[in-house]
Structure formats: structure tokens, C-alpha cells
Amino acid sequence: MTDNNKIHIQFLKLLNAETGFGVDYSLPKLNVISILNLPSKFWQTATSISAKLAYRFVGIWAQDLNETIELNIMLELQGVFLLLRTSIDIYTPEIASVTPYFPAANRLERHTHDMFGVIFTNHPDERRWTRHMAWHKDQFPLRKNFIFNLNSVNTTLPDNVYPFTKVHGEGVYEIPVGPVHAGIIEPGHFRFSVAGENIIHLEERLGYLHKGVEKLAEGCDIKQLIKISGRVSGDSTVAYTWATCNALENASNLKISDRALHIRAIMCERERIANHIGDFASICNDVAYTFGYYQLMRLKELWLRLNKQIFGHRLMMDCIQPGGVCVDLSTQHCQDMQEQITKFRCELAELYPIFETNYGFNNRLQTTGVLSYEQALSLGVLGYVGRASGCKFDLRHDACYPPYSTLQPINIPVFQTGDVLARLRVRAQEILVSFDLIEQLINTLPTGCILEQWINHKKIIEGIGLIEGWRGEILVFVRVNDNGLIERYFPRDPSWFSWPALEMLIHDNIVPDFPVCNKSINGSYSAVDL
């Protein structure tokens, strides 16, 4: 039995005691992750035990294996992952829902229902999620027999019949917003129920950006998949391509050079900083603090310009490839990045105290949009949203992967108040932490090649990639067939868990504070609509 399995031993003991299943404690592995194959009748018991043992729900996804549908649930305890697997018959695809034990699974199960036709019994919400009007309720796009190029000549109807929750009561009125919003942002629908000025209920309706990413990836070769993965969410293009390459490299046991890993991490940290600065600016803008907005947008632009200079692209798209990276760093590049960091530290050392002492600015953010620790924990919220509410989890710290494992332990900023200000402070601190990381990565940049040759294995391989993007942990699952073509691609964004958190934290806030609350979460629309 390996060390990794030790942590799951209590779970396995309880499972054996309750089901009499007799699981062998030496679990097989997918890459480094232990897999537990279960008969579907034990699905509910297994998840209820894991919930009791305080496992974190990481994700649920399915795949069509012709006669059967295979379901996967990923769990995590103390930084060690566990994959539960079961198969159900494709003609009677019924299984117990895990949402009663893990509320975080709610929308992912509804997505799995819409895409595969899996019926989750006892699911508290049986409404559709990803499906609007583009395909019929008896069609399931991720089944193998579904035709991807189903070109309809008719205009797709708007989804006007979705049954929103109705709030009744004297003086309660509804404000429907979107999908087209007033700013330069992604589309989604928000249904506010308001009494006076206070929001008493918010319901989100997403799925407008459903582009069929998972289906599109089926049958693609590795190169095409990487191109698609960089466009799951344009703001996280580095993190997604890294996670996808990570999954592919794990699947094929391809060892990549330390130099390539360092360059990937430098890009990932640069992406984190760019987005944190940009969102910090937008939060300033949402509370009409124009000084903060223009100062920070200035810094972000300077940051992106150096990206362009070094990596050839302002958002660093398509720089990561399976086997390594396709952009090398020269000594001059490293020096430029170093100088920029030194300059930015000085700039932020001037700006942060100005922000901290601006009464009006802080007054708008303090006690606004509070997400309690209990709420954050139950929803499995990740990234800065979790860390502002006391949930510390960060892959770079708790399930460390190279090259971070070769650096000094990372300092993870954590706050307890869970308001907009706390989320902003986490991000302000993370910018500084990422400066340190980039410096360390530059100073320890190994020599060597940057791109290993990708080898086609001529057999079916599967892999899981886990990368801490700027929004939090990104999970990617890939299955490649014996011709080297993609059979299944599933990316799970941390926004799956932060969107429901927004519904909770907005409760009892005033309508004019919604934009700033939303921006402080900044969930991705594109990466959850897929």
C-alpha cells in the first residue's frame, strides 16, 4: 500500500463495514490518483461516508463507453485525491444524486444530465441547466451517437419558459437582468427578487455561452485540443492549456524538462497578476473610485505589453504545448521581467496605502457581500473567494506540483471576514506573492530543452491535470484513443462553485452593490457554460 492510500484507509474501512463490499486497500492508480471502482448501488453510500469524513468535492463527470456510461467523482482530503468510478447501463442511466451530501455537485450533475441523459435520483433540483432551446430534451450531445454538426437553419428560440423560483410576499418585485448586460462582460441572466432595496433572492441562469467545447474536443488530435483548451476561458488561457497538457503528459507518462515547467509557471503567475490587477481596477470602478481604476489599468497594460514582448501574445495564448513550451526565455527577457517586478513593487507600495486609507472606498467594500466560512465550505469554494472566507486550499501549497514543489513554501494569504474587501485583500496580497514566485523561478531557471516530442501511444490512455489558475484549482480530464485522438475532454472551472456562492452572499445586499459583489467573485461564464 502506498502512502497516498493511507489517508483513505478510514474511508475504505467504513465503506467495507457499511456495504460488505470488501474493497482491497491497495487501490489502483490513474497517474498518481487512487481509483475506487464501485458498483453503482454503493455510489450513494460511498459519497455519504466521504462527506461525513469531510472530503472535499472536486468534480463529477461522465463518459459514454458505448454500452455503458461511466461516472467519475473526484474527492480530496488533506491534499490527496481519490477518484470514485462506477458504470451504469446506457439504456437505464439512473444513479443516486450526490448533491444531498455535496451541495457543490448540484449544477455539475444537472450539466451531466443535460449532456448525457443520466438521471440523478433524489436530486433537489430537476430543472435543466446547460440545455436551453438548442437541442431537444431527448437528445444528449455527449452521447457518442449525437451528431456534432447538427446544423439547424432555424433560429434557436429564446429560453422564455425556464421555471424560475418565484418569491411571493407583499411588495416583492422581480428585476430580470441579462443575458446582455450593460458593460463589456459575458452574458448570463440574473433574476433578482427584491423588497424595497434589499435583494431577498437571486437566481442565476447561465449556459448562454454553451459552445459545445466537450463535444468539439471529441475526435480532435492533440494539437487541436490544445488550441481549444486555450479558449475555454480566454482570461485563463495559460492555466487551461497547462492543465490540459498536464493531463495529457500524466496520461502518457511524458516527462517534461524543468526549464519548460519553470517557464509555464512564470506564465501562469503572470496571468494571475494581470487578472488580479485588472479585477482590482474593475472593483474600484464599480464603486466609482476612478483614481484606483485608472492607476491599476495603467499597470495592467504595462504588464500585458511585456507579455507581448516576451511571449509574443498579450494574453500568452498558445505558448504551452504537450511536452513543454514553445517560447524560450533569454537572459534579457528575465532581466526585463525582474525590472518590471521591481518597478511594480514600488508602484503598489505607493498605491496600496492610498487605497487602504480611502474611507469612502473601504466603506463600500466592508461588510458587503459576506460569504461565511460555513457557506464557503459547504459549496467547496476555491481560490480567492474561498481564501477570503477562511478556506485556505491552494494546490500550489496543499497538493504541490512541480515546479512549485522545488521552490520555497508558498505563503497563502487567508482572511476570515468573507466580504468584498477580504476578497480584494486576498488578491492584493497574492499579487505580491506571485512577484516573489516569478523572481524565484527566474533565479532558479534551469538550462535544458523546452519541448519534448509528443509520442502517440497506440492505446487508450487517460489522465487528470490539476493546476492552480488565478480563479483557483482547475481540473482537466482527458481520454485519448488508440489513434491518438481525443475521446473525452472535461475541464472543470472553479467558477462552478463560486457562482452558487454569489447567490448566497448577495442575500440582503442592496441592488446597486450587485456589480461590485459580482466582480469580487468574477466567475467565468465561458468556462462553466462550456
Binding site: 436551453h132 432551446m133 438548442a134 450531445p141 451528431i147 456534432f148 454538426n149 447538427l150 446544423n151 439547424s152 433560429t155 434557436t156 428560440l157 429564446p158 429560453d159 446582455v180 450593460a182 458593460g183 463589456i184 462582460i185 459575458e186 452574458p187 448562454y208 455561452l209 454553451h210 459552445k211 459545445g212 467545447v213 463535444k215 468539439l216 487541436q224 488550441k227 481549444i228 479558449r231 475555454v232 476561458s233 480566454g234 482570461d235 488561457t237 485588472g278 483614481f291 485608472y294 492607476q295 489599468m297 495603467r298 495592467k300 497594460e301 500585458l304 507581448k308 498579450r314 494574453l315 495564448m317 505607493e350 498605491l351 496605502p353 492610498i354 467565468s524 461564464y525 465561458s526 457554460d529
Partner: protein
Amino acid sequence: MIKTLYKIFKVGTITESLTPEQNDNFEYVGDCCKKIIDGKFNGSLSIRQIDAGSCNGCELEIHALNNSFYNIERFGIHFVASPRHADLLMVTGPVSRNMESALITTYNATPNPKIVLAIGDCGACGGVFGCSYACAGAISNVIPVDGIINGCPPTPMNLLQGILKLLQDK
């Protein structure tokens, strides 16, 4: 407050300055835009941006047009909150089927005469997503399009050049 003022003073004006006539000079291209906008739009061109299925990459770059370096408002170009106030629709794609009706409704809500610009490779031709059960592909498959700005995503410079080209053609 004194610190705020000091910082503003110290940063100064960073808006890119005018250098000899070049097509890749932001202010030069912007000035050309401004001349046309002054003539045809009475000094102000109102843009309504619609994300009809983008990955958010294009939105980040459109946002950047408002930062102090580009400061697109100095050319009379500004982004408005409602299609009813817009002269020009800047649409990013590919058009997802779930956004198809919303895009048409927004287009119809924009007063005539209106101009439509398809932004990015996905807006231009469907990009990596193409046409499928979930995507209607290029913007022009759904609403009439007057101009295209390629790029994945187009840079702020590409965007301004694209606006100028469209205004010159119109």
C-alpha cells in the same frame, strides 16, 4: 488626499503621443477616426458591445481601449450601456445557439442606421468553434455585418484600425 494628488501628478499624462504618420501609431489612427466621427456622427460614436459566445479574450482587449494609454474616448468613441443609444454594435463570437435570439433582439433594439462590427476570429468565421449543434458560427450567419476585425483576440491597436477601416468604407 495629498498622496492621491501626488501620485496623479507623478504619473502625468501617459496617453500615447503623436509621432510621424504611421498606420501602427495609435493616436494617428485615432485622429483619422475622429475626423470621420466629427463629420458623420456629429463628434461622437456610441458603441454597444455584445458578447454572443466569446471566450472572454476579446472582451479583455476591448476593455483595454478605455485605459489611459489608449483612452479611446478622446476620439469621440465611447461605450454605451444600451443598444438603444448605439450607432455601432461590436459583436464577439462565435454566436452560440443559446445567444442567437438575444443577439437578434439586441440588433433589432438598435436604432437605424446602425453598423455592425464582428470582432475576433470567432466573430469573423466561427474560429476554433465553427458551426455545430451549439454554435451558429460567424456573426454574419445571424445578423448583417458591415466589417470584421480579425485576431485571437485582436489587440487594442487592431480594434482601432478596424473601426477606422469600417468608418472609411462606410
